[in-house]
Assembly symmetry: C2
């Protein structure tokens, strides 16, 4: 399975520290070596860096590691291929436009026999269950809302869609449009919210520490979501299995179960 | 106005040489300093690098310059803002999905009062005439064809759409889905086809030469399209004003005027 990393903040923040630990899991401290990718939102704009080389060796990852892109929403993914060959078109995060905004999606898991009929404008380019799930989500969100709803109004609809898809198998995902971050846990996903008083964090996967007092401002609030906790001296919270969670401005706003069958 | 660079080849080729000359026009040998971007197709996959820093100073451009990504279709753009502020969402090339393939678009020019009603699934994220033109093209292509047509069948439809849009002003553009490259000249766009026997090319904008005999194979054929010729010792061909041109496998396949009004 793959590794997910997400960030949602109330002020543009660089993700260099978390990414330093995360990328080593792409071939060095873990086995996820079938490509990787990261998408940064900067205002309404979005840029993705994706590579089929393993993250620990990728020159593109070197750049991301060293170039502090300040963003309020980030989604990153390291791939261990389960469905779909190792190819750029199968590399997360995936990106599409909906309601005049970019949407970014990454998935960790394995959806068995998930081949929905995609009749709308969102068609998969590659051959992963993940991209099909993303297209399915966007298609049904578009059917439900003619224009962008508030995230709180989207939440119950996305919850229903996630419940439906999660019936096919393991479905941990991150989804963002640059304004907020949805995080769905199937069986693996944890988070931490960093805010004042800040302390020093030490990476698990690399000999590296950061004192957030030196880099953050008193009002900053930063939520980091990851498949496995990235630091060893902070308390991460595991989401409940089968829950959809919404982060806005670095804060967990909504959480609800996707375990029970939803009438559709 | 902006600068365009496109490449279409019959075999995956790196664009490092052409990009070296091109990027210096982003702030150094020319005034186009409002961001830049480049999109590479690798099979069905596509990755874009975009930056709001000027190309001659961008760390992302350093990476692209040094990291030989081998691609059959590339579109690059250096921006001199005319419409839309300097922001990531206004940075070319733009990317959308149509018929299960990624499409990439970059524009040089200025479309006056071009505000089409975009009612379909393609909505502009930023506020440039260029992205609106791209959304308009994709929307109408999608209305015309339920699934991907051969480029020769697309050609007359795209010609009609380009004619319509070009009535609003300067409209030089590059458009690709990774299989072929459309190049429309309003008033500025030239190309060169490199094939055996290869020779040595010398950049105009930087003290750099390359002997293609040493890097290309006998059967390689590479078309390069640019706003202004990039080399000083090769013969570039200027397209006729107001023409749509189609490149496949490094070869100019079709060309037709978009100057005369088309009945719609």
């Amino acid at each position: 399975m793959c590794q997910l990393l997400g960030m949602n903040c109330n002020t543009p923040t660089d993700i260099c520290f978390s990414f330093a630990g995360f990328r080593t899991r792409g071939g060095l401290t873990d086995v996820h070596k079938d490509g990787w990718g990261i998408a940064f939102f900067e205002g309404r704009g979005c840029r993705s860096f994706i590579d089929v080389q393993q993250a620990c060796e990728s020159p593109v990852a070197d750049l991301v590691r060293q170039y502090p892109i300040r963003s309020t929403n980030v989604i990153a993914h390291i791939r261990k291929a389960t469905q779909g060959r190792v190819a750029l078109e199968n590399t997360h995060p995936f990106q599409r436009e909906l309601w005049g905004r970019h949407w970014v999606f990454a998935h960790n898991g394995d959806l068995k026999d998930f081949h929905p009929k995609l009749v709308g404008p969102y068609q998969a380019v590659g051959d992963t269950d993940s991209e099909r799930a993303f297209c399915y989500l966007l298609h049904h969100l578009r059917l439900e809302f003619a224009s962008a709803p508030a995230p709180e109004r989207m939440f119950p609809v996305l919850r229903e869609l996630a419940t439906r898809i999660a019936a096919y198998g393991e479905f941990n995902f991150l989804l963002s449009n640059g304004d907020f971050l949805f995080a769905h846990r199937g069986t693996q996903l944890s988070y931490i919210v960093r805010q004042a008083p800040f302390s020093t964090a030490r990476l698990k996967d690399e000999d590296m520490s950061i004192n957030f007092n030196e880099v953050a401002s008193p009002n900053d609030r930063i939520a980091v979501v990851a498949t496995q906790p990235l630091t060893e001296n902070e308390v991460w919270t595991a989401f409940e299995d089968r829950t959809l969670n919404l982060f806005v401005d670095g804060e967990l706003r909504m959480s609800a179960s996707t375990a029970s069958p939803v009438n559709v």
